[in-house]
């Protein structure tokens, strides 16, 4: 997919006006948020479980190289082939090579954010290999050529009428319907042939267990299990932070992940591969490739202040609670990841220069951090990015802020540290500000402050401020 993080403000302005999306945005994140709230109490002490999960993720992220080597060793012993990719190109080239060498024409894919990040579908298509997204939401998004709207419900914003028209045209649906169950069934029937016939499956990884060399997927539809069971070849793609020390840790994490995602005690399917199928098995992959992807993460790892974003387990609790996401939805973020986790991850993946508006589109309310089971403090990261950006920290391509803004803050800082100057400035500023007042209210302003007043207004400033009147009153009294 094409990265459009630079256009966040423009995209958000378009998205917020889309009337048809508003009811879904009002409903679905709130629905998922409530499911989560209702699901967490089935843990004996939800806060303790969240804190424990966060501690495990923090530990993992600080032991990454050891855990990855242990995982690789055990996965290899299980018979999997592990491939390390520095960037998207290396990963994509490898997957294409595996497919071509085996004469693969059709690939079935489980929903994975990591292959969205890789832009894998475009690369496969360009090489004459047809990728079929098989998660219902991802299938709809693929057929309609749309990016994911939400990391766990990628097409929740598409009205049923549009899905009907799309399925009539592209998914062999014969009788028009707007019933979600019937639409789902049509996709089931259409994709069944693909499950049966595809020569290769591609899936992401939710958890990679170092102790056993096992890769784990968590899903509800069964499409990932199909992708991992029917074809002869399986490629599992994981970003390098997915690893976790033990199987017991994985079980604990699954409990917390499912509840934070959808309020479930466990998702309908959790499947765990430890190597390819054995010789006497009738299904399952004959070859299992595990791609460990860096794509900028080892660079993030160098900075201990921002490293914690790698603790993310992609549950989407932060999206569902975010007041910004709830207004603009997922497209405006301009990449595979959206909501607070996207705002915290994409600046580090794509550069602070290409994501300026992303980490500023936040009121720092902290709702995201309050629900995060991985212990990420998203607002703290946004402040860190803003700080780096202003200070022109070169590590993540931060650029200078515009000259006018720098000038403004220099003057502001001067005024704040010199009371006399501040008073003088305020006295000069008040009458200029009040030039724009109508009936005691300023609702428009020319020049650099115009943007602030676009959707707000402010009372006109008094000729004499309170402090001055107070001094005068005191003088009078005495």
């Amino acid at each position: 997919m094409k990265i459009r993080t630079e256009q966040f403000n423009q995209l958000a302005a378009v998205e917020i006006e889309k009337a048809r999306v508003r009811p879904f945005l009002k409903m679905v994140p709130e629905f998922l948020y409530r499911k989560r709230a209702a699901g967490l109490p089935s843990l004996p002490d939800p806060d303790a479980a969240q804190a424990y999960a966060a501690a495990v993720r923090a530990e993992v992220v600080n032991r990454l190289p050891d855990l990855l080597e242990e995982f690789e060793r055990n996965a290899t012993a299980n018979g999997a082939k592990v491939f390390w990719a520095r960037d998207a190109k290396e990963a994509n080239d490898f997957i294409v090579k595996v497919a071509k060498e085996r004469g693969v024409k059709t690939v079935i894919k489980g929903k994975s954010m990591i292959t969205e990040e890789l832009g894998l579908n475009d690369v496969l298509t360009a090489n004459g290999i047809t990728p079929w997204e098989t998660d219902l939401g991802e299938f709809i998004a693929q057929q309609m050529n749309l990016p994911p709207f939400h990391i766990i419900a990628p097409a929740m914003n598409i009205p049923v009428e549009e899905i009907r028209d799309c399925f009539m045209e592209k998914a062999g649906m014969e009788t028009p319907t707007v019933d979600p169950v019937e639409l789902g069934y049509a996709a089931r029937v259409f994709l069944r042939d693909k499950f049966q016939g595809a020569e290769m499956g591609i899936a992401g990884v939710n958890i990679a267990v170092a102790e056993t060399g096992t890769v784990i997927n968590v899903e509800n539809e069964g499409n990932i299990r199909f992708s991992k069971s029917a074809p002869k070849t399986l490629v599992s793609v994981m970003s390098l932070e997915k690893v976790i020390p033990t199987m017991q840790d994985a079980i604990n994490m699954i409990r917390v992940l499912a509840r934070n995602c959808t309020g479930q005690r466990i998702s309908a399917y959790v499947s765990m591969e430890s190597g390819p199928k054995r010789a006497d098995e009738v299904d399952g992959p004959e070859e299992l490739f595990i791609v460990i992807l860096d794509n900028g993460r080892s660079k993030i790892y160098q900075d201990t202040e921002v490293r914690e974003i790698m603790q993310c387990i992609r549950c989407a609790a932060c999206l569902n609670i975010c007041p910004v996401y709830r207004q603009i939805g997922g497209y405006a973020y301009g990449g595979a990841y959206s909501g607070p986790m996207g705002q915290a991850l994409m600046p580090l993946l794509f550069g602070l220069d290409r994501t300026k508006d992303l980490y500023r589109a936040c009121s720092l309310c902290g709702a995201c951090a309050s629900v995060c089971p991985a212990g990420i403090d998203h607002p703290k990261l946004f402040l860190n990015f803003r700080d780096k950006d202003v200070k022109q920290d070169p590590r993540f391509n931060s650029q200078q802020r515009p000259a006018k803004e720098r000038m403004f803050f220099r003057l502001f800082s001067l005024g704040m540290s010199h009371p006399g100057l501040w008073k003088l400035g305020a006295r000069l500023f008040r009458p200029i500000f009040n030039l724009n007042a109508h009936d005691g209210v300023v609702s428009r302003m020319p020049g650099p402050l115009a943007g602030w007043f676009r959707k707000r207004d402010m009372p006109a400033m008094p000729v004499k401020p309170f402090h001055q009147r107070w001094e005068e009153l005191k003088d009078k009294k005495s």
């Binding site: 530990e59 600080n62 520095r86 789902g184 509800n220 017991q248 399917y269 790892y301």
Partner: protein
């Protein structure tokens, strides 16, 4: 140096590069893990555990039944076959189902019972499980009361697609196969170093989706219904 050697060297370099960068990063100390209270279900045992499982099965949208013994289980199976009008099913050969000799039972009840072992290759097996089997009948290695999950150790006796491709899955659960909590998998499936099944899965109820406008319904790609016959 030929092409494939070259690729191996490049892959090796990528590995060294990535691990090298990770190792060179400044260390950060993290606080030790806090106490994690055990799941309350971990204490379940005996009849209370089976009763809890029955509740979870209902909550996870299974069609649950409880019978006294294997004989009654077969009667229930005959009833399901009749009511659903099944003429062709595929059965596992795991320790729960194999002793029942379902192929012979099927001949008596007018239903063809296929078994995964009878197919020469993947292609033949796939067309049977995708196109012919109207249902699957399987056991489970163990069943988790905490979540109502079937613990499925896949292999020759209970291959992966058997519990996935048919639209109806009938699972037989002897009461002595019920375990209290998910943690059972750690010892039972992954307890012996290096001797893990190629795939293990937890399956919990029929497949599920909410991808169209957030409307939740059961029966997406996996089974639409899962009938659970708890025995004993």
């Amino acid at each position: 140096m030929n092409g494939s050697n070259m690729e191996e060297v490049m892959a090796e370099t990528a590995r060294e590069d990535i691990l090298g960068r990770l190792r060179a990063a400044p260390p950060k100390t993290v606080p030790p893990r806090p106490h994690l209270p055990p799941m309350k279900e971990a204490e379940l045992a005996g009849e209370a555990m089976v009763a809890y499982l029955m509740e979870r099965l209902a909550a996870e949208a299974y069609t649950p039944f409880r019978v006294k013994d294997r004989r009654e289980a077969l009667d229930k199976l005959a009833q399901i076959v009749k009511e659903e009008g099944l003429t062709c099913v595929m059965a596992s050969t795991d320790d729960v189902v194999a002793p029942l000799d379902l192929p012979a039972w099927g001949r008596e009840h007018g239903v063809e019972v296929m078994q995964p072992g009878q197919f020469a290759d993947r292609q033949e097996y796939k067309s049977a499980i995708f196109d012919r089997a109207q249902a699957s009948v399987t056991g489970a290695s163990f069943v988790v009361a905490e979540t109502g999950s079937l613990g499925l150790v896949h292999g020759t006796d209970n291959p992966r697609l058997l519990t996935l491709a048919p639209i109806l899955h009938i699972v037989l659960i002897p009461a002595d196969h019920v375990v209290p909590a998910l943690d059972a998998a750690v010892g039972r499936v992954f307890g012996q170093k290096g001797k893990y099944p190629s795939q293990f899965s937890f399956a919990t109820g029929p497949s599920l989706t909410g991808d169209i406008t957030g409307y939740l319904f059961r029966g997406m790609h996996g089974p639409r219904r899962v009938m659970a016959i708890v025995i004993g």
